[in-house]
Symmetry: C2
Subunit: 459 residues, 2 copies
């Protein structure tokens, strides 16, 4: 039975999160790294308790699978007890603990007047509400990222992982309670009803991070005033330019499509310059078919290869429909279209892609540059697989997700995406600084605006 | 009569804006600065036409004033023909044109592998929808900022300025048409109905910037999925710490309150450490009263000065109500409260202020540091007037507004607030780069993640 949640409960919870955040700002930043170490120790000690809860979730999920209400792949994602998932989860905590603190960095500093200095310094956002799928290790992963970046967080995982998520959040709170950080720094909620109440509390919650489908992200955006950093679908394109190199084309197209088809950075559409229809295109098509990829082709690209298909492979080539170019296949399927120019390719991508990551295969410096300027996506790649769009591969050490929005953080998001900034100004003048002394006219001062080179706040 | 606007019109308009944005990305960036110069020339040539339209708006507004439906101050803001408003508006275009381009800056660059380089480069956001008050010069101001930063914009000003705004936007489009930039780069809409339709078009519009009241900003946030960068109220506090210097306290409090009472960065609440009740507080109170400021005091601060008030000034001191500490007075009124500690001051500010700008008057290095960390506001100032919170004073050259959100851009926003970034990756390997060559195990490559020092894209 789902517990009844009143709006008052959600307000208390959100208030507690805000208070925990505000309290944490007065503590030594090192306390956050200590908390991560305590949480890791606590998890090691209580491993069997967590595994028991996880087995309970699995049993319940298997019943659902038997009755056809849940997919087998979900059960696999739910399982924390097999493979190296547990070990990776613990290692992830150490990895995040070891990353540089994204806070306290000066990104702008200026002497406005003698003795009046302005600093723009990175700082946490506040309270995060993170909504994610039924993968229990994500509870620990997101909690680590929030703690490291100095944000309080309210977490909501998929309901199938409830028992595991509950014990994990207890362990996290128990680790926090060994430090001076409030245990309400990380809280867990269980129901959609709670999320619905929380979405109205823009006074206490500063950012919502939904990870999942486009429809989840849109649903959240439709129901809150709180800013949303969505992690949704990827509809990535690869464009074979007229000057494309043969080997690069085959390697990058195949890798982009087949390396991990379920990922948001896998390619879903291939655009082929019409000059390649009888040369490179059949070669790329044949490479894709040899990896069991089905090609949904427009008339031109279909005609170009129809007669060249080895017998038995005809089923891998089919005519496309218009909406195939707007579809995230997430499987061994790719939509294919010919274009008559680079500009037509850019136009197709801008109007059909999800502005995630798009790649051009070209030997032309000018076309590479035009593509990267003209394609309005978080990632524009040249002769490289779309699958490189990833926080770890980019060198961020960890990944909050891949933002499909373009405000605040775009593309793969590291810890930097969980901070904002504030302006700190300090007068060291013996009478303090006031605005009415500045301006035009006799006796008025003017601003110096002298840039300062400085790495951290001097006080 | 208000023209009937169909949803189709709005879709056409938004589509045209998006297309104009996308087209502009392929043009030389210098074209934007050229456009600003053409617009300025065009305005100089057609000054009398603009003034005629402005006089028509003024006549209509004066009728409304006579019938009590409009305030005199609005008419004053509407007037473009008197004082140096016209000259300042034209100068503003040149100032923006002369600012450094916020685009094309590399903020992260890394060599991921031999011949595989990643660059994070600043770029425009896309299409902006900007909603503002009935001040016609803002049309030109915002258009300049949008063009300079490479964004297309749809503008909606207050309805009283319709005639002036219409001719100004025609002049802007005429200036644009002398360049290769599309004239739909800047478009004007007139009705709330159009705004309502546009708010649903998150496919074409990337950011909404409402400038005005809290209620306007909340209304917009409640009615769109598009990210909102709001510019709303400021409820700024000044805190007199136990160690406050006498002269700094009087000067900064008075300047913060009276320098320009209608501004969002004016002080609305004064917090007084209880140790100052019989020493510094009466002096500050008397300075404020000498500038005709009314003090709304809690019991403690009221008791401390009641017997010391010079005769005839009693009317300037009144008991406060709870909601006075949540009120943006925007006039010669200030709410006053005593606090027993720095922590209590920080708590009061975090729960009552609008997280805009708050200032501490202190001689204690430790208290200054605690205040700046603990107060969760866009600006935390030490011994300096809250009135310094301003894009020009900060040295940004211009100001889009002062963001009261904390995502993307916080506090005074310069041109930087109108850009986002994209990741550009380029392989110069002879076979291109694919993900499946990286990993653990025999023959697999690992990432170098070697930071690169570079200022602009090399291609």
């Amino acid at each position: 039975m789902t517990p009844t949640v009143t709006v008052t409960d959600s307000v208390q919870l959100a208030k507690a999160a805000k208070l925990a955040f505000e309290t944490s700002q007065l503590l030594d930043r090192e306390e956050r790294t200590r908390a991560l170490n305590f949480i890791k120790n606590e998890l090691e000690v209580r491993k069997s308790e967590v595994f028991d809860a996880n087995r309970r979730d699995m049993e319940l999920a298997l019943v659902e699978v038997k009755e056809g209400r849940l997919s087998e792949s979900l059960v696999k994602r739910l399982d924390l007890t097999t493979g190296d998932k547990w070990g990776s989860m613990l290692q992830g905590i150490s990895d995040v603990a070891a990353l540089p603190d994204p806070n306290g960095k000066i990104t702008y500093a200026s002497e406005l007047d003698d003795g009046l200095r302005l600093y723009r310094v990175s700082c946490p956002i506040g309270v995060l509400l993170v909504i994610f799928e039924a993968r229990p290790e994500v509870v620990v992963n997101i909690a680590s990222l929030a703690i490291k970046s100095g944000n309080a967080a309210i977490l909501k995982g998929g309901k199938e992982s409830t028992h595991t998520a509950t014990i994990l959040s207890q362990v996290i709170q128990s680790g926090l309670s060994k430090t001076s950080l409030p245990k309400d720094y990380i809280q867990l909620v269980h129901t959609r009803q709670e999320v619905a109440s929380l979405l109205s509390l823009d006074r206490y919650i500063d950012l919502v991070i939904p990870r999942g489908s486009n429809s989840l992200v849109r649903h959240i955006q439709n129901n809150t005033r709180i800013p949303v950093m969505g992690h949704a679908d990827g509809l990535c394109n690869v464009y074979l330019d007229a000057t494309a190199d043969r080997i690069k084309a085959v390697r990058v197209v195949v890798d982009s499509k087949i390396n991990y088809t379920a990922a948001c950075n896998a390619a879903e559409t291939l655009l082929v310059h019409e000059s390649l229809l009888n040369t490179l295109w059949p070669e790329v098509a044949s490479a894709l078919i040899s990896h069991s990829v089905t090609l949904l082709c427009d008339e031109t690209t279909l005609d170009a290869i129809r007669s060249k298909l080895p017998s038995g492979t005809e089923k891998y080539v089919q005519p496309s429909k218009d909406d195939d170019y707007e579809t995230e296949h997430l499987s061994l399927i790719i939509s294919v279209r010919s274009v008559s120019s680079l500009n037509e390719a850019i136009k197709h991508i801008n109007s059909h892609s999800s502005h995630h990551t798009d790649s051009i295969i070209t030997e032309s410096e000018a076309n590479a540059s035009t593509f990267c300027r003209g394609v309005d996506s978080a990632g524009t790649f040249v002769n490289a697989s779309t699958r490189f769009a990833d926080g770890f591969r980019f060198g961020f050490g960890t990944e909050v997700g891949i933002s499909t929005g373009r405000i605040h953080a775009r593309g793969p998001v590291g810890l930097e995406g969980l901070v904002t900034y504030k302006y700190v100004m300090r007068s060291e003048d013996e009478k303090g600084h006031i605005v009415s002394e500045f301006g035009v006219g006799a006796g008025k001062k003017s601003f110096k605006h002298q840039p300062l080179q400085i790495d951290s706040l001097p006080f």
